[in-house]
């Protein structure tokens, strides 16, 4: 069965510092992988997605993620965090039937 684990419930980083949010998935075949962001009171917005090909994918707002099959991971990174990046981030995996399973989320706090 598909599953997604986001080990960090919340992370605090200083503005301008680098960021890495962890995501591990479980799926028997090559999955479709996604990162979404949810700001307070807002719906989810897609940051980036991986279907196949280059394992380093670029997304919006300066985010990138790397698919590592050997580690079953799809970690999200950003080289320099801005205060406006404070939000909840969800990793998701889709597989057979394209049913999408979301992780529990990681809340990002940005300190000045």
């Amino acid at each position: 069965a598909q599953s997604v684990t986001q080990p960090d419930i919340h992370i605090t980083v200083s503005e301008g510092a680098s960021l890495e949010l962890r995501c591990n998935y479980s799926y028997g075949a090559t999955p479709y992988l996604f990162w979404y962001v949810q700001s307070p009171g807002q719906g989810l917005q897609l940051l980036l997605k991986y279907f196949s090909g280059d394992t380093l994918v670029q997304g919006i707002k300066g985010f990138e993620a790397e698919f590592k099959r050997s580690q079953s991971s799809f970690n999200l990174r950003k080289p320099s965090v801005h205060w406006s990046d404070a939000a909840e981030y969800f990793c998701a995996v889709a597989g057979k039937g394209f049913k999408t399973i979301f992780g529990a989320g990681t809340r990002l706090f940005v300190k000045a």
């Binding site: 479709y32 807002q42 917005q45 897609l46 279907f51 999408t100 979301f102 529990a104």
Partner: protein, 117 residues
């Protein structure tokens, strides 16, 4: 381009009452999803429509939840009767569909926050 519309944005009801949520997807999007997001958790798929047919409703509590998408456009999700544990944000999303065998990007509405007292 208009996004996914949902109403109401907030709803407070007492347990055992009924409630309905409405969703209007992005024009031309064949696939429509309803998710339940309980506080502190990720969204959980309740039901997925492709046009007006159900693709997946395996996690929909069918004894109390129902959903329809009669004309393949907008959709309603109903809970009857509501329980305390139904308190959550109900998110609607839409995508172009499964065209070409690739999963389409899902666009989410702002959600309906339901509180059951």
């Amino acid at each position: 381009e208009a996004g996914v519309a949902q109403s109401p944005r907030y709803k407070i009801i007492e347990k055992r009452q009924s409630v309905a949520f409405w969703c209007n997807p992005i024009s031309g999007h064949a696939t429509l999803y309803w998710y339940q997001q309980i506080l502190g958790q990720g969204p959980k798929l309740l039901i997925q429509f492709q046009n007006n047919g159900v693709v997946d409703d395996s996690q929909l509590p069918k004894d109390r939840f129902s959903a329809e998408r009669l004309k393949g456009v907008d959709s309603t999700l109903k809970i009857q009767p509501a329980k305390l544990e139904d308190s959550a944000v109900y998110l609607c999303a839409s995508s172009l569909g499964l065209a070409g065998g690739l999963i389409g990007e899902q666009f989410f509405g702002p959600g309906t926050r339901l509180t059951v007292l």
